[in-house]
Symmetry: none
Subunit: 208 residues, 2 copies
DNA sequence: GTCGAATGCAGACAAATGTCTGCCTTTGGT
DNA sequence: ACCAAAGGCAGACATTTGTCTGCATTCGAC
């Protein structure tokens, strides 16, 4: 067999995987050097075997085209982070977001993100300054956490139906439910994801 | 000046940024084609201007070497989601993650993700089944939310120092603090991000 | 031992990609 | 009107990167 045992394949895989998780694909020659191969082909043959085995993917004809199998970057989506959203201003706010959030793509859905203000949803673990990712939709179901416009302000609440009417329920006993007039409520969408960043040193500013 | 107004620069930037947020840097000729330029140099000059202006970064001498500036989002990173992590098994668990989570890359840091079990951290909004993203590091500071190994099990707690000793503090009055023996504690890392998915229909299975 | 598969080495070649030079057109200022 | 700067075009060239061919070495299977 080979001069070295089968570990080499594994080392190649780990090196490529780590580089991919760190951000970008290595080139074949970078693998060669990292592994101590004297010839490019050694690295390349290992790489092609790994692709063949389904442990790596490859964008053909592209430099640094290796990737991890499954939904890599193709299914990820960037979501605009909007500060505060006024009534009709959502469309305009989309033009100048505060930043961007990365998440898995929901094909066919329109997503945006908001920063939460206030403690009104702390009972379900949505704290001030959390970022909620919202899917735009005109209606929602009982119990959904939604973002709604009430009196020109976007608010995050739990949607409930009481006596045929709509109630925006705060998940915090200190906050009273909101019972908006039927025509004073605009549902912006449903909260599909909640995020909290505990390591602000690493996020001094939102990428824009 | 130019034939077209300054918007061109902006369009180039957006194209590159979107491609970067989607996963990988475009090549100069891909920018050329996307913008409808007839010559490569048009695209390249815009790119170099953007780098000059600090709006993009560039890995010199590397194919597809453009990135977003700042320590924040040079690019997105895939983080392995590990189920439960046993003592020495973290390295092996990296080989067969339950899935992947996308977040901003923290250059130079090793990240992994865990699913939270139990209510012990509900006081700070970390609920059961939440996903925490953890940066590996051997020590942390007072008040940090950390992942630590105690008796062969990974646990999420707040780190506190009391009387010179380490206390793992639960953020829920129903849970008593853990005071591990000095040599029975292994700090896996610090929680840098918390995520909750409220729309499981859209995430029927974890991407793998 | 002999064979073959797997691995490694060496070198060359081709494709992708980045970079440079020169020139033209447009636009804004003087 | 004139000039300078910026943007754009065309083509060439250099570097990086991927890929191919051929051969040598190792080691397990027979």
């Amino acid at each position: 067999m080979a001069r070295t045992p089968n570990d080499t394949r594994e080392k190649v895989y780990r090196f490529v995987r780590d580089r991919l998780l760190a951000g970008r694909s290595p080139s074949v020659r970078e693998v060669q050097q990292a592994m101590g191969f004297k010839a490019v082909e050694s690295a390349r043959s290992h790489l092609s075997k790994l692709v063949e085995a389904g442990r790596l993917t490859k964008a053909d004809g592209q430099a640094r085209g290796y990737g991890l199998p499954g939904r890599v970057g193709d299914r990820s989506a960037r979501v605009p982070l909007l500060g505060r959203v006024q009534a009709g201003a959502l469309t305009e706010a989309l033009e100048t977001p505060d930043g961007w959030v990365i998440t898995w793509a929901r094909p066919g859905a329109t997503l945006f993100a908001l920063r939460v203000r206030g403690e009104s949803m702390s009972g379900v673990g949505i704290m001030p300054d959390d970022v909620v990712i919202v899917r735009r939709q005109p209606r929602a179901e009982e119990g959904d956490v939604v973002v709604a416009m009430v009196e020109g302000e976007a608010t995050v609440k739990t949607l409930r139906f009481v006596d045929g009417g709509v109630v925006l329920h705060a998940e915090n006993p200190a906050f009273a439910p909101i019972i908006p007039a039927a025509d004073a409520l605009t549902l912006l969408g449903k909260v599909v994801e909640v995020r909290r960043f505990l390591d602000l040193d690493w996020l001094p500013a939102w990428p824009s």
